[in-house]
């Protein structure tokens, strides 16, 4: 498959580290030193996830010179949809005025890579001609805002990509190591009178140190694997576009791959970790400011709850 265009959308409200210190025992200095994050965008009551997703989708369609009716399939990656059902993909479909099949997937922060893998299969089988991926994330709605070690990390955003058949995607590899211990968030319960479980509506939990290890080791393994499959060395890659979980993870991966800082674009300082939206949002911003050009070799890599990982190599 090939990617025709990217789009993105961010909530209007920016929340700085200084604002967080008003209700958390933390500091701007600590957050920046441990994460590289200065601010993040957070959805307020007036915004909806499907609205954000639709805005990103429209930007991607406009940039590709396409209309909603040109799209045959919508895949939405989200860790918490706007509703339990209908799928956020269906809500986005209605908002943009498309009529194609639409469904959500959840592969944690690796969602964009999983969506690319599925998109490639649907496009190359000939069942679909053009497909829209939307990664729409409202992590702020599932974090524990009394936990200073996790709530400072995340932001909300949506990123989109329009794809069609082609050969620019050289390889995409995804993996899962089913394990909820290190990183999870509970869904909200119903009120079934026969459900005698102790309510475990615990918001997002993360073991930061073990996830750091998992992220760096698996990301480097996946990146080396896709380069080996394509018989390319790191020096032949223009950009390594990694999931923006933490600046320290990006630095550790870059050091292990022995590559210069300019080849690891980032937006974590102003967006935080926006889960599966990180990579398409960053690529959309790079298209906007001219860093992303046709013909460049890109390696994408993400990791997240599942535990899942994914990497891809494409000639944009």
């Amino acid at each position: 498959m090939k990617i025709l265009s990217f789009g993105h959308a961010l909530p209007k409200r920016t929340v700085t580290n200084a604002e967080l210190t008003q209700f958390l025992d933390t500091s701007d200095e600590w957050i920046q030193a441990h994460t590289g994050i200065e601010s993040r965008h957070i959805m307020t009551g007036k915004e909806t996830l499907s609205g954000l997703g639709a805005k990103a989708a429209k930007m991607a369609l406009d940039r590709a010179g396409l209309k909603p009716e040109d799209i045959d399939y919508i895949l939405c990656s989200t860790t918490r949809g706007e509703m339990t059902f209908p799928a956020t993909a269906c809500l986005i479909q209605a908002r943009i005025g498309a009529t194609c099949p639409s469904l959500d997937i959840n592969a944690g922060c690796t969602g964009f890579l999983y969506a690319m893998d599925m998109a490639d299969a649907l496009l190359e089988s000939g069942r679909v001609n053009r497909l829209l991926i939307v990664c729409a994330e409202q992590v702020s709605r599932l974090t524990d805002w009394t936990d200073r070690s996790t709530c400072v990390l995340f932001g909300d955003a949506a990123g989109a990509a329009v794809c069609e058949r082609g050969d620019s995607l050289k390889t995409v590899r995804v993996s899962a190591e089913g394990d909820a211990k290190l990183l999870h968030a509970w869904a909200s319960g119903g009120n079934c009178p026969f459900d005698d479980r102790i309510p475990e509506e615990q918001p997002l939990y993360m073991n930061g140190q073990e996830i750091f290890k998992f992220a760096v080791t698996r990301s480097c393994r996946d990146i080396e694997s896709v380069m080996e499959i394509c018989d390319l060395t790191p020096d032949a890659v223009d950009y390594f576009v990694l999931h923006q979980a933490n600046r320290r993870i990006l630095d550790a991966a870059r050091t292990r791959l022995k590559q210069p800082v300019e080849k690891f674009p980032r937006n974590i300082a102003t967006h935080g970790n926006t889960s599966s939206a990180c990579i398409p949002v960053l690529l959309s911003e790079m298209a906007e400011d001219g860093r992303l050009q046709r013909g460049q070799t890109l390696v994408l890599s993400a990791f997240g709850a599942g535990l899942t990982t994914g990497a891809a190599l494409l000639q944009y």
């Binding site: 030193a33 441990h34 073990e210 760096v216 080791t217 320290r248 550790a252």
Partner: protein
């Protein structure tokens, strides 16, 4: 090279400090390592020493890690 010497060398590389200043009884906090520095150090030790180390709150001093690695190497 003993396990302590290898680990001291890795800490010195991680934090860009003089290896002679690292003692077994030092806590990671004493050495200026935060939680993610410890995670990075553990990854480097796993690569260099071929062991698997689960990070836990019980790992406070350099000697705690030396003991854990030596137990695995037996």
């Amino acid at each position: 090279m003993t396990t302590f010497e290898t680990i001291a060398k890795l800490i010195a590389e991680t934090k860009d400090m003089d290896v002679s200043g690292i003692k077994p009884e030092n806590t990671f906090a004493d050495l200026g390592l935060d939680s993610l520095d410890v995670a990075e150090l553990v990854m480097n030790m796993e690569d260099e020493l071929g062991v698997t180390i689960e990070i836990s709150p019980a790992l406070k001093t350099v000697q705690d890690v030396v003991t854990l690695v030596d137990e695995q190497k037996k």
